[in-house]
């Protein structure tokens, strides 16, 4: 029988095979519900017997009424049992080549004080994903040892992330990063020498041992979702991981996070059974690196920068030098006209529909940076805020959508920062302020991503932002 030529054919064959296999189970094959005594031997705990008896009664027609809460069905469904078994690697890939971009790892696998060199031999596949054979010769015995790992891409050079001694037995385990190609980021693969083989040990809770931005279930909205930041690192011969205590809004390519993110962290210990188990390791802060908590509290809030105070009004002009450079002027008229001239020689004119317009001389680059972008307000009505961007040969006003209005009022302060961000701070009853960061989205619309809740020493001065 031939293998399919296209993915579509593969899908069709799979569908047909699944249907055929499933339909081998006919209704008459299903056993009638049997008495408890005839159930399979593993159903022997009192609880299971009680539960099984309950099923018998229920099937006979007794209906249980639902009570209390209404949890998500997948939350309450039984989870797989906790036991984890290791799989021994198959002896395949002796003839695979070491990837030119891979770097052999140096690790003392057998604990004799001499580091073995582990080569990464990549399986050649059409889609560049597949298996990597780890191969070495043990310095203590001269025998070959090998392992196998499945990776998302065999073309990305394999390099050890480091070595650890997670079980404290004096030899080292090898840590390799598998860069998952989906949005989550990837996870470390840990190999331990067991019975002469490089066996991939497994984390008890893989969700706690990964790197990247992991979506908070149920957080997706039309404009953004929320993620928690995950990171892992090696320090002092131990493997650590952390997960952000807070979640952060993510919309398109943008994510709102402070310079320092507080992590709940774990140290991973390897048991005799080959299972990595997390032990609470306290608080860490994720910056560019990972550091102990409390080094600099100010980095737990975003750097909002100073408020832009420089505007041009009717009859005035300015040069915008930062970001996409252009010149602008506001010509008198009814309505007044904004005129911008870009480096491409185009002159664009836009009628301003706000009274006594004022145009900021700093470009809101966080909104749009591939052409002219501007913030407009009004000298006679400072609550007005308008975002303008260049779209081809015209300037358009973005339509604000989402959860907060684009306005500058006493309890919804909105300003352009010197760093090019348009920020709203919405007052809460307790004196704190919820930050929102404006972004552009499809359809010439703008929306705000929610940020941290902060306090200000002086709300008119964004540089006075602090934790509450």
């Amino acid at each position: 029988m031939s293998t399919p030529d296209t993915m579509s054919e593969m899908e069709d064959r799979l569908r047909a095979a699944l249907t055929a296999r499933a339909e081998q189970v006919r209704p008459e094959h299903l056993a009638p519900l049997t008495p408890v005594v005839e159930l399979r031997p593993r159903w022997q705990s009192p609880w299971v017997l009680i539960a099984t008896a309950a099923v018998v009664l229920l099937v006979l027609g007794i209906v249980f009424q639902g009570v209390a809460r209404d949890p998500r069905s997948d939350d309450v469904a039984p989870k797989p049992d906790e036991r984890v078994e290791l799989q021994l690697p198959a002896d395949v890939g002796r003839d695979w080549d070491a990837g030119p971009e891979s770097t052999p790892a140096k690790v003392d696998l057998d604990g004799d004080g001499t580091k073995e060199t582990v080569d990464f031999l990549a399986e050649k596949t059409k889609n560049y994903d597949g298996r990597i054979r780890l191969q070495t010769t043990l310095s203590s015995t001269g025998k070959e040892a090998y392992g196998l790992m499945q990776v998302a891409s065999t073309t990305i050079g394999m390099t050890a992330e480091g070595v650890i001694d997670a079980d404290g037995d004096g030899d080292q385990e090898l840590v390799v990063f598998d860069p998952d190609l989906d949005s989550t980021g990837g996870a470390p693969l840990v190999f331990d020498l067991r019975d002469g083989l490089l066996v991939q040990v497994v984390p008890e809770d893989p969700e706690l041992l990964q790197r990247g931005d992991v979506q908070v279930p149920g957080s997706q909205t039309e404009l953004y979702d929320r993620v928690r930041l995950h990171q892992y690192w090696i320090s002092g011969g131990s493997l650590f991981s952390g997960r952000s205590e807070d979640s952060f809004a993510r919309g398109g390519m943008d994510m709102v996070r402070p310079p320092a993110v507080v992590l709940e962290s774990w140290e991973w210990r390897l048991g005799d059974d080959g299972v990595l188990r997390p032990e609470a390791a306290g608080c860490r802060e994720l910056t560019f690196d990972v550091r102990p908590c409390g080094v600099d509290q100010s980095e737990r809030v975003p750097d909002l920068g100073a408020r832009v105070e420089s505007f041009v009004g009717i009859g005035e002009s300015a040069e915008v030098a930062s970001g996409y450079p252009f010149s602008m002027r506001v010509e008198a008229g009814d309505p007044p006209v904004l005129v911008v001239e870009g480096p491409d020689g185009r002159t664009l004119r836009h009628e301003l529909d706000v009274p006594d317009p004022l145009v900021a001389t700093v470009q809101p680059e966080s909104i749009f940076s591939d052409g002219e972008s501007l913030v407009v307000t009004s000298a006679s009505d400072p609550t007005l805020v308008q975002l303008l961007v260049q779209r081809d040969d015209r300037i358009v006003a973005l339509e604000p959508v989402g959860e907060v209005p684009l306005e500058n009022t006493d309890d919804n302060r909105t300003w352009l920062s010197e760093t090019g961000s348009v920020v709203s701070a919405v007052a809460d009853d307790d004196g704190s302020w919820q930050l929102w960061f404006w972004k552009m989205t499809s359809g010439n619309r703008a929306f705000a991503l929610p940020g941290a809740t902060v306090c200000f020493d002086d709300v008119d001065d964004p540089t006075s932002v602090r934790t509450c």
């Binding site: 799979l14 569908r15 047909a16 094959h29 469904a77 596949t125």
Partner: protein, 174 residues
């Protein structure tokens, strides 16, 4: 008037309505009928044990489906352990339906399917047999939709590879 009485799950009805389809799904995951029946029985037992777990009847099938997938994975783990220490001929004899003829072209696919990682197999079964959406699969497996998409894509490639491998090794044997 029904005041104070909230909709509840009628397990008898669920059992009658979905047992066959769930056993069929379980067979695709664990590939033997006895285990599949056990897996589904476990799922109903779990539901009976927590009758308040699913108050909305419309969510009961999602609960049972997630339960079957998770229990099937546990069953496979147990089996993997057993196989590590027992020769293949010690496995239980095939059930009557196992011995029914499955066309060669389908058998190849099913054998390849069972060479995949459990998560890959689950995604393929839920997508191509249960016809669930990516969102429903994500909810069933407690993973993101992005992971569903990437897992499905890789699983198809792995399935094709496994089939080629099986085909070529079969030829060598001959």
């Amino acid at each position: 008037m029904g005041i104070g009485i909230e909709p509840s799950v009628d397990i008898t009805e669920l059992y009658a309505a979905h047992r066959l389809s769930l056993v069929r799904m379980a067979v695709l995951l664990v590939d033997d009928f006895a285990s599949a029946e056990d897996v589904v029985q476990d799922a109903f037992t779990a539901l009976a044990r927590r009758p308040d777990a699913v108050k909305d009847p419309s969510k009961a099938l999602a609960y049972l489906r997630a339960s079957v997938v998770n229990t099937a994975r546990s069953a496979l783990r147990r089996r993997r352990t057993a196989r590590a220490y027992s020769p293949p001929h010690d496995l239980s004899p095939p059930s009557p339906e196992d011995s029914a003829v499955l066309a060669e072209e389908h058998r190849e696919v099913i054998e390849a399917l069972h060479q995949l990682a459990p998560r890959q197999r689950e995604v393929l079964v839920l997508r191509y047999w249960s016809n669930l959406s990516e969102a429903e699969i994500a909810q069933t497996l407690s993973i993101s939709q992005g992971t569903v998409k990437s897992t499905a894509s890789r699983a198809l490639v792995a399935l094709e590879k496994a089939m080629k491998s099986t085909t070529s090794s079969g030829k060598e044997e001959r």
